[in-house]
């Protein structure tokens, strides 16, 4: 989240799009309730009328997989309205705080000119040659002057400026097109636009809440980009009650992402090392962003400090200036190679991966195309799985329909402890690192994760020291000294970082150095666990995550700065420098986040939240000031983003499996997404019904924790498929009937829930049905049932490779 849960209460309009908070974030919905009590409007956009919709002021249906068309239509509405009623929008914000004024290379061409593609595409329309499904992004660059500073046109009139490019691309996203693509009734769509665009007025704020309904698409990353553009045009980033809030589906998934969960990043969102990075310097040359604009802070120019401190944390005394701080110890990935979920299981299916550790994960239920992934598990020599209950992954070798004698994989089960049975920190969606204590002992031989990984690491180090092995020093040289049993506070202190000469905890990442005198396990968390005298009143002195002080912030905006600790540097709202005008005065006088105080210190300073970039306001001191978005190299927020694989601005493409041709252009689906299994693409002649998957309040993720809980099993005993009365009538299905749902990947049987809450989509007179399946179930545990993911495709987003769980094609029959 850019903001935090409690901040939703400050919103004037809350839009849940690609998420169903009342269902999947039930406790957090309380914040929405507070916002509503204060007069906020709630918008719910969802393929079916949900528990969230039941509490919404405005509901609009949307066909799964058409988010870019929907939000693109909203962007067009706002751009048109800016022209008609500029006083309803914050033009200073758009001009000064975004790259709207930046000039783009004259060779750039957009989808309006290139039939849905951008300039630089290697292939042709609907390219099938995988090697040509990519862009050369040379024409996506900014125009620069002789000092390599990006050129701007603050009048926003230049035909090559981002604002004009934006207008050209989204001029095609008319209300009729939105209706034809998304199946959203025109009046419902316009009501959403009108309600949300009202947050564009200076002093008003709107927030977008999203979850997996947004991301799990071949266009998932571009869906988020579309939200970013909309929120920037409405000046909603950085302000209280604004932002783009990713509602995390697990208590600590924010924390795990912060610590390098993904294959392409290491802790602190630093880039992964590749085989091309033959030295630390080469790595730094590749990853450190450069910018010549003197008014841009370009904060990530500090990369060398963060990576060197990380190497010191990992390799300790074995990392010295003379050995490049141990950079050569590090294992590195192959340049350009993808190691994400789908790729790993494809490699497993091809017999290239021999062992796997599934830690608190249940791929046999949660992974896409379950049959593919369950079969791939059989290619492993060994599988280590750690969980609270026996999972489908642990029992894949005896699943229905297979002969255990045919499967040679050796499976090791590590019984784990639940969150209340161990001590440590959990980082929530709000980015708050909150310390928790052990309330009970774990059952039987169950141990906590840290205990397990510590044992494994200590034993591995012993084995590598004795027997050697490939790249043995990566293990043997590690600075791994948390004790046995390990002390979780030692880990937390290392994450924060310390001075390698004095051993003292470091106060914040501004003090990290690239000369080996500081060590830090995660620069973003630097400042979380300081010396006891720096935070003497915390329940665990020095441990800011343990703080439970409900003292309000300076402006009483609900920041609660002394409750736990928020990364980075206890900042509660990221990009808060954009919440003030050029003089440092809050746009929103009722809910200030920060405010420039000229009498503070010797030269003035900021009151309120920890300021995002401690520089004076632009109008106060143009020389010392910096642009407000310090984490982008150019210092402003990006309406146009060169970093994306599939286009600098989101363009609508149909999901990989789609019931209709693309009404926006001739390019059917994402031109860059990697197609692994072209033969498994379902076509509408055989599979005419759109399907999506989701969860219910009563169960959680792949089900281990809830399908073994009798009270919850009673509430929601079996998987169901929701469908409209119209589809049920066509298929002769009655409510409660067993039905089979089939895709090219397989077939499942579920109970039909026939409801008026699902409606067929009328797309310019054309009717398309959609059904929704619960995905919690599998063959293990107290409550068993078919896994919806048997049906989902093995294809992912063009940028992130997140699987396209949320839109695919099926047929439905009465069982």
């Amino acid at each position: 989240m850019t903001n935090h849960w409690g901040d939703i209460a400050n919103s004037d309009v809350v839009m849940a799009l690609g998420g169903n908070p009342a269902e999947n974030h039930p406790a957090a919905f309380g914040h929405i309730t507070i916002a509503k009590e204060r007069g906020a409007k709630l918008i719910s956009v969802d393929p079916r009328f949900t528990r969230t919709s039941s509490k919404a002021d405005v509901y609009a249906p949307i066909r799964s997989g058409t988010d870019v068309a929907f939000v693109g239509g909203m962007i067009k509405y706002v751009l048109d309205d800016i022209e008609a009623n500029p006083s309803n929008y914050n033009m200073v914000y758009i001009t000064e705080y975004t790259n709207a004024s930046y000039l783009v290379n004259t060779g750039f061409k957009g989808p309006a000119e290139l039939e849905g593609l951008f300039s630089g595409y290697a292939g042709g329309l609907n390219e099938t040659d995988g090697t040509k499904r990519k862009y050369d992004k040379a024409t996506w660059a900014y125009q620069v002057d002789d000092k390599s500073i990006p050129k701007k046109d603050k009048t926003l009139q230049d035909a090559n400026c981002v604002f004009q490019i934006l207008k050209r691309q989204y001029a095609r996203y008319t209300v009729d097109k939105v209706n034809a693509i998304c199946g959203t009734p025109r009046d419902a769509f316009l009501e959403v636009c009108k309600t949300f665009a009202a947050s564009g007025k200076t002093g008003k704020a709107g927030v977008i809440l999203y979850a997996m309904g947004t991301t799990q698409h071949t266009n998932g990353a571009e869906n988020i980009r579309a939200y970013s553009i909309l929120q920037l045009l409405l000046a909603n980033m950085g302000v209280a009650g604004g932002g783009i809030d990713a509602m995390r589906g697990e208590s600590n998934v924010q924390g795990s992402t912060d610590f390098g969960l993904l294959f392409d990043s290491i802790p602190g969102y630093l880039g992964m090392f590749t085989d091309a990075d033959t030295s630390r310097q080469k790595y730094l040359d590749r990853v450190t962003p450069k910018n010549n604009d003197p008014t841009s802070a370009n904060w990530l120019q500090n990369y060398p400090k963060y990576i060197t401190s990380l190497l010191k944390a990992w390799y300790g005394d074995a990392a010295t200036k003379d050995n490049d701080f141990g950079f050569h110890y590090l294992p590195k990935i192959e340049t350009g190679k993808n190691y994400s979920w789908i790729s790993l299981f494809e490699a497993m299916a091809a017999g290239k991966i021999k062992g796997m550790m599934a830690w608190g994960q249940n791929p046999a239920v949660g992974g896409p195309s379950s049959n593919t992934e369950r079969q791939a598990l059989a290619n492993l020599d060994w599988l280590v799985a750690s969980d609270l209950w026996m999972t489908e992954t642990m029992e894949f070798w005896k699943r229905p329909g297979v002969n255990p004698a045919d499967i040679k994989t050796e499976v090791f089960v590590l019984p784990a402890r639940a969150s209340f049975e161990k001590e440590g920190s959990v980082t929530n969606s709000s980015r708050w690192m909150q310390w928790r204590y052990k309330a009970a002992e774990g059952p039987g031989e169950a141990e906590d994760d840290l205990w397990m990984i510590n044992k494994i690491m200590l034993r591995l180090r012993e084995l590598y020291a004795k027997d050697g092995g490939p790249n043995a020093e990566a293990i043997t040289k590690t600075n791994w000294n948390y004790g046995d049993p390990p002390d979780v506070h030692k880990v937390a202190k290392e994450i924060n970082g310390y001075d390698t000469t004095t051993g003292k905890q470091i106060d914040g990442f501004a003090n990290l150095k690239d000369d080996g005198t500081t060590a830090c396990g995660e620069w973003v968390y630097c400042g979380s666990y300081v010396e006891p005298d720096k935070e003497p009143n915390a329940p665990v002195p020095g441990n800011r995550a343990s703080r439970r002080d409900l003292a309000p912030d300076a402006f009483n905006t609900g920041l609660y700065p002394k409750w736990a600790w928020s990364w980075p540097v206890n900042r509660r709202i990221i990009y808060n420098r954009a919440s003030v005008d050029l003089n440092g005065e809050p746009w929103d006088k009722e809910h200030p986040v920060i405010k420039w105080n000229p009498t503070k210190g010797e030269t003035g300073g900021w009151d309120g939240d920890v300021v995002d970039g401690n520089y004076p306001p632009i109008a106060v001191d143009p020389v010392k000031s910096r642009y407000p978005f310090i984490m982008t190299s150019e210092g402003v927020a990006r309406l146009f983003a060169q970093g994306m694989a599939d286009g600098p601005m989101p363009e609508f493409y149909e999901p990989w499996e789609c019931p209709v041709s693309n009404q926006m252009s001739s390019q059917t689906s994402n031109p860059v997404a990697k197609v692994w299994r072209p033969d498994e693409q379902g076509k509408p002649d055989k599979y005419p019904i759109v399907a999506t998957t989701y969860r219910v309040c009563e169960h959680w993720q792949a089900g281990q924790m809830t399908r073994n809980m009798p009270w919850l099993v009673e509430l929601m005993p079996e998987p169901f498929v929701e469908m409209s009365n119209e589809l049920a009538a066509e298929k002769g299905i009655a409510n409660g009937d067993k039905v089979t749902i089939e895709s090219t990947r397989g077939k499942v049987t579920m109970v039909a829930m026939v409801t008026g809450r699902f409606k067929p989509f009328q797309m310019n007179g054309r009717r398309v049905h959609e059904v929704g399946l619960l995905w919690h179930w599998g063959y293990s545990g107290l409550s068993t049932g078919d896994s919806a993911n048997i049906l989902t495709p093995h294809i992912g987003d063009a940028n992130t490779m997140i699987p396209e769980y949320k839109a695919f094609l099926v047929d439905v029959k009465k069982a």
């Binding site: 039930p26 009328f49 528990r51 969230t52 009798p710 009270w711 929601m716 079996e718 009937d737 107290l782």
Partner: protein, 276 residues
């Protein structure tokens, strides 16, 4: 002791059903739930609805009801709470022949399981169809069960100064608890706010029904739309039973005992005479 009440706000309820779970957990009502050791003792299957278990039961004291309502193209999904309303004019208390069901010091309806004879008279007497009877087929002993307002013996939250378990757990804050008068004020304020925001049908249910319920409802539409009785009444038979037949019965019974006593005295006198 001031009367207590729960205020249920349907405009805030998201039907997560945390209340259903906590009610079973706090009160130990898990006998009907399947477990690996007990096997599937009750048919727990999906019936094409978010509602489960299908109905209130001796071990299910609260159940959320989901109602889909569509008018002029606008869909609504109405949620409401099915549980004991703790009426002031409580049909069950009237019908109970031996005082097992009674109003406690908080104005809510408690019952003494030890004295329950399992007659089941409370069931038809309830205008909300709440009490349920569980009989043992071998011993023939039956007992009635329903929400105790968390005053279950040994698990009493109210006398300990705590809110009922359902109120404690409610994530969106749709349940409030306190003195009944305060809950009425809160409910009225909420109704006024909803009306001011265009919810013309908003109303407070339970303020006067049956001389006042101890579970009050903020509704956004008529009670009927939620499946609640619009004008709940204790059935005539129960009133007849409690106010007419039972007094007559007591009178007749009393006279009988008196008569038997007289008979005994007379017989004793006669016997003594004979002894002489």
């Amino acid at each position: 002791m001031a009367e207590k009440a729960i205020l249920y706000d349907a405009s805030k309820c998201t039907a997560c059903r945390g209340c259903q779970v906590i009610c079973k957990q706090w009160n130990g009502n898990d006998e009907i739930i399947p477990s690996p050791s007990s096997g599937d003792r009750v048919a727990v299957k999906s019936r094409g609805t978010y509602e489960n278990p299908p109905d209130l039961a001796p071990d299910t004291w609260i159940k959320m009801k989901f109602t889909e309502a569509e008018s002029s193209g606008k869909m609504r999904w109405l949620f409401t709470r099915r549980s004991c309303m703790h009426c002031t004019d409580a049909g069950c208390v009237r019908a109970c022949p031996n005082g097992t069901l009674y109003h406690n010091e908080f104005g809510t309806v408690s019952y003494n399981k030890d004295t329950c004879i399992g007659c089941g008279y409370c069931i038809p007497a309830c205008p909300f169809d709440v009490p349920r009877l569980k009989g043992n087929r071998i011993t023939g002993i039956a007992k009635a069960d329903k929400c105790t307002f968390c005053t279950t013996q040994g698990l009493d939250r109210i006398v300990e100064g705590m809110e009922p378990a359902c109120v404690k757990t409610c994530p969106p804050g749709a349940l409030a608890y306190g003195e009944r008068e305060a809950m009425v004020v809160l409910g009225r304020q909420r109704v006024d706010l909803l009306k001011s925001r265009g919810v013309g049908g908003a109303n407070l249910y339970g303020e006067n029904e049956l001389n006042g319920l101890h579970v009050l409802y903020v509704l956004e539409d008529s009670p009927g739309a939620y499946g609640l009785p619009v004008n709940p009444r204790v059935p005539g038979a129960t009133i007849a039973w409690k106010d007419v037949i039972q007094p007559v019965g007591w009178a007749v019974g009393g006279l009988t005992i008196l008569g038997l006593g007289m008979n005994w005295l007379v017989a004793r006198a006669n016997a003594k005479k004979e002894e002489k």
